[in-house]
Symmetry: C2
Subunit: 462 residues, 2 copies
């Protein structure tokens, strides 16, 4: 077999880089669980008709077929199998299906996190991933869902991302907006094509204000005054609730009255007030945030890594009034999704963080000769019994070679089991810190490495 | 959308059952890491030609195509994409590819664990899973790999499975054999078709000794005496190294001389001796264990859950001399794979274990009125800061309803934030254990739940 080459769009990490990814996954999971979110996993596949309900994603779906497709003619194959299965391209479609399928067994409001791979058949030359890991949280209600969850969910994500600062993950800025504000404002101006305005406003950073105004006039038939007002709203941003006052000034200037807008401003104000207390400096109201997806109905969120804005949003989401509906009940929700692979890929490629070693072991127990390997096994067993990751040297090579085995993997300690010298003198257990060279007598039932050496750490690359 | 129904062969768990699965995943991962195994993940897809190298699995592969297949005509699509991709059906094929692809960046012997989903297009009526989670460990060497890893690997698995006994997972029995013993014995008898004998011996439990002897005579042309000797070997089993003596008696009785057999017996004896010390009562030598796969060259392993032998092996593997080869080097290895989904499915369906609650939260902080929700947020934040999973009540409903919210999810504690009584008297923070009804004053910066209530537990269903 010739040496294989990587598949474009399917990232894989070397062991030390996987330690970085695993640390991030463990950290976000811990934060989600501290906030009471229950973990679920859904199958990787969904029926194609469910995946294709939103036409815009049809290009991205990987469709499955069994290699021995002729089997499908048999009656034993289920209808779902016949109609075709595809790999999920996000965790929202599967979650909506899971909620409907299990509604009778779930307690609402249901707070769940879900950390899984998703697949998109993107064109590889775009530098996009075809397989990547997402970490989603959503709160979904049966029938209704109070607004305060729209405050809570981005703050949970802020906490999860803040918990990563210690390993060198840059600061984040969570940009928030509220669809009700935008929709109320546009309608108050007399514009009916709300989605049209949002689509154009979404391009503001790319094409600039002048072209946005022109597009609003040309494409959706806004008057120049209406278009200018839409631009003014989109240009409002700020880090505290004074941003609400600035929107109100615009509202007054354009003599807009809208209950929807009023409700949106109250909600956005509540979010900014809570964020100032619970995540100061992290959340910014940014009235141009539109999010492409038309199912958002309230708060919308995007998140940039400060200094890495070119990466785009690493954590996005919003409020939707209908996650799912089964005729009997409608399930509104609010959720956010971290693009773990995108984040990890940048942290590694920009050399922002690294693992302190490439394996879990804190200790290599040396083997003095193959005949007494069991003595080394016993030492390693005693260490593990007290929670110290330890492995036994693969061979009874010269001690220098055994130390090199540890050194190549970044394992900080080598243990020399008790032995008998050539002259019959007993030699006690000793442990060597191979970084400092310091070697001391030690008891396998008592010795502990410093806490910082117990497990591989993830640290900022300085 | 009508209520969807489950897809046969694609298991999903409710939140409380997912806690059971997650506990098992965390436990095996912890054991693997304590032994120094490095975690990796590989992509879900492999080029079809790699997946189909072993003809026998061709029926089981799920092949992928992008829905907009016409794109594939473009030059931008890589060769691998054109030749087709399939979902991996195990973690060994991807691991072999990963080793070859990254050989220059890995330190050998390389000890890795890998916990991922795999997919097989099995016929659903067989009651088999089409998507399931495996947890694999392998040690792979560059060029050579000492025998002692064939002792270590099953003992790591024994430890991982023993760590699950506390939650109610039944005892396991790891059945071991050594291909060298079988091959040396058969060849010593004058039989050349070793794979043929193994294939027939593999059916011993199903068809019985008489039919095995008949099949050996009919199908591979053994003499009745040879066939009887093969059966006698297959019937040897035992829990300690005396089993080696019993094989030697057979060897002497049939006047067999074989260096290969001799080497196999030394290896099997070493495994039994080490197992008697490190996992007493768990490992059994069973000379009929054949394992279907022809790439095993030394030790082979199967594992049964005592009392659930009908489930088949939940953890299998063996030694292979050629995991992968790139012309320059050959990589021998030894590995074992736990079928996590099969295990979890049985634990749940047989009601052997259960989670103590359905969500992570240990505490629900009640909300006295929506105006003072921030006071409840502050209490929850103080608890989380000390590692206590806590959530805030979704509504300021009557306290009875808020308690019911906790009760439905099995959350043991409800916290009542400090408040002011109607007559202006301050009322201190209180926390109620809703199981006992006991309610006490408490300080959110000091109070801790009992350790057993901090996180959801997984316990034996008594």
């Amino acid at each position: 077999m010739a040496r294989p080459t990587p598949l474009s769009g399917f990232p894989e990490w070397l062991p030390s880089d996987r330690i970085v990814e695993q640390h991030i996954l463990d950290t976000v999971r811990k934060t989600f669980e501290l906030h009471g979110f229950a973990g679920i996993e859904t199958r990787a596949v969904e029926p194609l008709d469910q995946l294709l309900r939103k036409g815009e994603t049809s290009k991205e779906v990987y469709v499955l077929r069994r290699l021995q497709g002729e089997d499908d003619a048999e009656a034993s194959v289920s209808a779902a199998d016949k109609q075709g299965l595809g790999l999920h391209f996000d965790l929202t479609v599967p979650f909506a299906r899971y909620v409907l399928e299990n509604a009778g067994h779930l307690a609402f409001p249901f707070k769940r996190y879900q950390i899984q791979k998703v697949w998109r058949g993107e064109r590889p030359q775009d530098g996009r991933f075809r397989e990547f890991v997402q970490a989603d949280i959503d709160v979904v209600g049966a029938g209704d869902l109070p607004y305060h969850f729209e405050v809570e969910v981005p703050l949970v994500m802020a906490e999860a991302l803040a918990a990563l600062r210690g390993i060198g993950v840059p600061e984040v800025r969570i940009l928030v907006n509220n669809r009700k504000v935008a929709e109320g404002f546009y309608r108050g101006l007399g514009i009916e094509d709300v989605d049209g305005v949002l689509r154009i406003i979404d391009k503001l950073d790319k094409i600039g204000g002048t072209k946005v105004v022109a597009a609003l006039v040309d494409e959706i038939g806004a008057t120049p005054a209406q278009a200018q007002a839409c631009l003014e709203l989109a240009q409002v941003s700020g880090d505290d609730s004074t941003v609400i006052d600035r929107v109100r000034e615009l509202v007054d200037a354009h003599a807009i009255t809208s209950d929807l807008l009023e409700q949106g401003l109250v909600e956005l104000g509540a979010l900014m007030t809570a964020a100032a207390v619970r995540a100061p400096g992290v959340v910014r109201a940014d009235l141009k945030i539109a999010r492409g997806l038309d199912y958002y109905t309230g708060s919308v969120y995007e998140t940039v890594l400060v200094g890495h804005e070119d990466l785009g949003s690493i954590c996005s989401g919003g409020r939707y009034d209908t996650l799912a509906s089964d005729g009997a009940a409608t399930y509104p929700g609010v959720g956010l999704s971290i693009g773990i692979s995108r984040l990890v890929s940048r942290l590694l490629s920009a050399r922002l963080v690294r693992a302190t070693r490439s394996v879990p072991s804190a200790v290599v127990v040396a083997v003095m000769s193959e005949e007494v390997r069991t003595a080394s096994d016993a030492v390693a067993g005693a260490l593990r019994a007290r929670g110290i990751p330890a492995e036994v040297s693969p061979s009874a090579a010269k001690l220098g070679k055994q130390i090199k085995y540890a050194d190549r993997r970044g394992i900080p300690f080598v243990w020399f089991p008790e032995s008998t010298a050539a002259d019959g003198t007993p030699v006690a257990h000793q442990v060597k810190d191979i970084r400092s060279g310091e070697q001391v007598e030690a008891d396998p039932s008592v010795w502990m490495p410093p806490n910082s050496d117990l497990w591989p750490g993830v640290v900022a690359t300085s």
